[in-house]
Subunit: 144 residues, 2 copies
């Protein structure tokens, strides 16, 4: 009985740990991308939308801005946090972050899709675990 209780606690702990790991922030640097794609605002909005869907996320709003002489920023506000992309076509570089907080999220798929869509010949990806209180993952909320 004593052992059973301990086992229960361990299972609960393991489950809790797993939930905590579901709040991920991916920082992605994309190098040697296709310059034209990095300067195409409409294309980047479509790509961001598709990336969000691949991550199992729901896009609630998507904004973008084109810079002079070049460069674009696009940000998707998700029900599960956000994805942003900032581009410098003159350097063939883009800085992306994908922050997902929720169950069954697949931010890595979004990351892989962005690498391929922008034809990045080099990239670096850092996966950072955010540290919300564990209760955050148990709450269900919907967009108004």
């Amino acid at each position: 009985m004593e052992f059973y209780k301990k086992s229960q606690i361990l299972n609960a702990f393991s489950h809790e740990q797993k939930l905590i790991h579901q709040s991920k922030h991916l920082l992605l640097e994309l190098y040697r991308c296709d310059c034209n794609k990095l300067n195409d605002e409409s294309f980047l909005r479509c790509v961001l939308n598709r990336a969000a869907k691949l991550a199992n996320a729901t896009v609630l709003n998507l904004i973008s801005n084109k810079f002079k002489p070049q460069g674009v920023t696009a940000i998707a506000l998700l029900a599960e946090s956000h994805i942003s992309i900032h581009t410098w076509p003159e350097s063939s570089y883009s800085a992306v972050d994908i922050f997902t907080c929720g169950k069954n999220m697949k931010p890595e798929l979004a990351s892989q899709y962005l690498i391929e869509s922008l034809m990045a010949k080099e990239h670096s990806l850092r996966v950072i675990e955010r540290n919300p209180p564990s209760a955050v993952h148990k709450k269900i909320r919907t967009a108004i």
Copy 2:
């Protein structure tokens, strides 16, 4: 003369290194915040706007979303990248990220202001250096 040249090179390198460090991504976890403030969409929009100004950034767009039964996401698209805030009032928790890429940015001031405005009794801050090609910092671009 030889020494002078070397010194010039070293100075240029040091300057370059310094510039590289100007692309910062701050990940901020705010715990034990004021729940009412975390659920106040208008307040959070004002706070984000002020935080951006303190960071020496220019806000080009600001979007937000209120969730059911509670919680808010607000994101500021900056000329110099973005600031986002996601709140879970039921857990007195907020996840913030401040990404600034440019000269004379002061993201740490924005971070400190957010900690104080949301009355966070605990927080953790991770400062992550993004790695753009050095040329990115030499380009000047403006919002269209």
